[in-house]
């Protein structure tokens, strides 16, 4: 597995072997404990992919952006992917239960790792409800883990939930350029919401985010500059 070799290159053989063994467990508790313990074994350094690693990853997951991933994010992704492969052979339900349990037991940092990796899981639309709910957090790094540098929302969120995500990004001064696939999902309702938000900011004598037009379809953009 590509990500396992990435972890091995950074954290060494012992750590990578630990990840391999931890991923093989049949117990939900042991799995979740390993997920928690990943940074203890592999560290938390930035992943900083080499050119060749990046091109391999791009071939497998073209719109994933790992710039902000750390080594423990990658190790946790390895755990989930291994569990998916093993469990999906016996029946997909077991993996869905395991993955959701792993998310719900996670602290904010574990949930970030989980969200960063979900687009890589088989049949990722099984986790849309969890991802949508994750957007309701007030913990901004957690929100960013799903909203930014992540292809999942543009691919799997229903329109209304995608629109809420974009508006929440604007509301929290998160650059819309970080929302992967935004240009493919702009829609009249999102335009209207962005226009209303601009009006609300102006009425309050507050600055309008300079990139708000990215949330609008062309007609609305022209109106904004008028």
């Amino acid at each position: 597995m590509l990500l396992l070799s990435v972890v091995r290159a950074r954290a060494g053989d012992a750590a990578a072997d630990w990840a391999g063994r931890a991923a093989a467990t049949e117990s939900v508790d042991a799995f979740c404990n390993a997920y928690t313990a990943a940074p203890k074994h592999v560290g938390r350094a930035p992943l900083a992919l080499a050119e060749s690693e990046l091109s391999h990853l791009m071939a497998a997951a073209p719109d994933l952006r790992c710039d902000r991933w750390t080594v423990d994010d990658a190790a946790r992704a390895v755990l989930l992917l291994s569990a998916a492969q093993r469990n999906d052979a016996k029946g997909a339900e077991a993996f869905v239960r395991l993955a959701i349990e792993c998310y719900e037991r996670g602290d904010a940092r574990e949930q970030q790792s989980w969200l960063r990796a979900i687009s890589l899981l088989p049949q990722p639309d099984r986790f849309t409800a969890v991802a949508v709910d994750a957007c309701r957090t007030n913990i901004i790094p957690l929100f960013e883990a799903i909203a930014c540098e992540n292809p999942y929302p543009a691919r799997h969120f229903p329109e209304r939930q995608f629109n809420q995500l974009v508006l929440k990004a604007l509301f929290n001064s998160i650059a819309l350029a970080r929302v992967v696939g935004l240009s493919t999902r702009v829609n009249p309702d999102l335009s209207r919401m962005a226009r209303d938000y601009a009006a609300e900011r102006r009425a309050a004598a507050r600055p309008v985010p300079s990139d708000i037009a990215m949330a609008m379809i062309d007609d609305a953009r022209q109106e904004l500059t008028r």
């Binding site: 709910d133 939930q161 809420q164 919401m193 209303d196």
Partner: protein, 292 residues
């Protein structure tokens, strides 16, 4: 001037805040049930939270001479958890008849999902059954649309608008609320929502009928003294004291009195606070401190 803060989450505040609020003239508050920043996963968390609103927190406020009332409800954010919604809504009637519960709230919209709308409408029906007013939270995002939809929900249930307080208004939503018969709340925050200067301007433009202001102080960046600070700014803008008093006392009192449970007896002659009093063997005193 006596001050009523009709929306403040004291569970998240310290005794220093209570001291400062009392010193600034705040004598009565309403603490709406809301979410705690971290999603709750079991109904038991709500049992304990609701109990603390009518128990420990009310006692704590009393130790600073402040009359504490509360609203009960399932907030919109956590209404997106279907299992929890059913369990919490089934639990609510146990609390709605308690002393000092002066409304259902804060309910309304967050993401404006169908699940939120169902929970919202069911709780408005509960308010009718228990003869309580309703406190509505308007969303941070897509606020104007959320305000319009909130009024539509009230109308679809056929709930009397004069028993509804729609909160967190801004320049865009206030005219919409005033065009209904609902009351309009304004949350004065350090960075978001509304600020003191803008609030004074809104009062000069729209007057004081059905208008209230609050601090909504909670676990985020907020200020429990925003109501007295807004009074100071309104005065500086030349708003007459009679108008100010209507906004920070008469209006919230009139609104929540519709519950029939807003007991303000002896509010002016509030007895000296005895901090050696106890709530289930606990007092707000620590160690060597001496009660006043």
């Amino acid at each position: 001037m006596r001050i009523f803060d009709p929306h403040i989450h004291m569970t998240s505040r310290t005794t220093d805040d209570y001291e400062a609020m009392a010193a600034a003239g705040i004598v009565a508050i309403v603490e709406p049930a809301f979410w705690l920043g971290q999603p709750r996963t079991t109904v038991g968390s709500f049992v304990d939270y609701f109990n603390s609103l009518v128990g420990w927190e009310r006692f704590r406020a009393s130790q600073f001479g402040i009359r504490h009332f509360c609203t009960m409800g399932l907030n919109p954010k956590e209404s997106n958890n279907p299992r929890l919604t059913d369990e919490v809504l089934a639990l609510l009637p146990r609390f709605l008849d308690k002393d000092g519960v002066v409304a259902i709230g804060e309910i309304g919209f967050d993401d404006q999902t169908d699940a939120e709308e169902r929970s919202f409408a069911r709780q408005v029906e509960l308010a009718r059954d228990f003869n309580l007013p309703v406190l509505i939270h308007t969303p941070h995002r897509d606020k104007k649309q959320g305000t319009i939809r909130s009024i539509e929900v009230i109308r679809s249930v056929g709930f009397p608008e004069e028993r509804v307080l729609i909160d967190h208004n801004n320049e865009e939503t206030l005219p919409i609320v005033l065009a209904s018969r609902c009351w309009a709340g304004h949350t004065i925050y350090p960075n978001t929502k509304m600020d003191e200067q803008r609030m004074a301007a809104l009062v000069q433009k729209y007057g004081s009928d059905r208008i209230v202001v609050n601090s909504a102080a909670d676990w985020g960046i907020s200020d429990p003294l925003k109501v007295p600070k807004t009074i100071a700014v309104m005065r500086a803008h030349g708003v007459p004291d009679a108008t100010i008093q209507k906004i920070v006392w008469d209006n919230p009192v009139a609104f929540f009195a519709q519950s029939g449970r807003l007991d303000l007896t002896d509010i002016d002659t509030c007895a000296a606070v005895d901090r050696s009093q106890k709530f289930e063997t606990n007092s707000v005193l620590r160690g060597e401190q001496v009660g006043r």
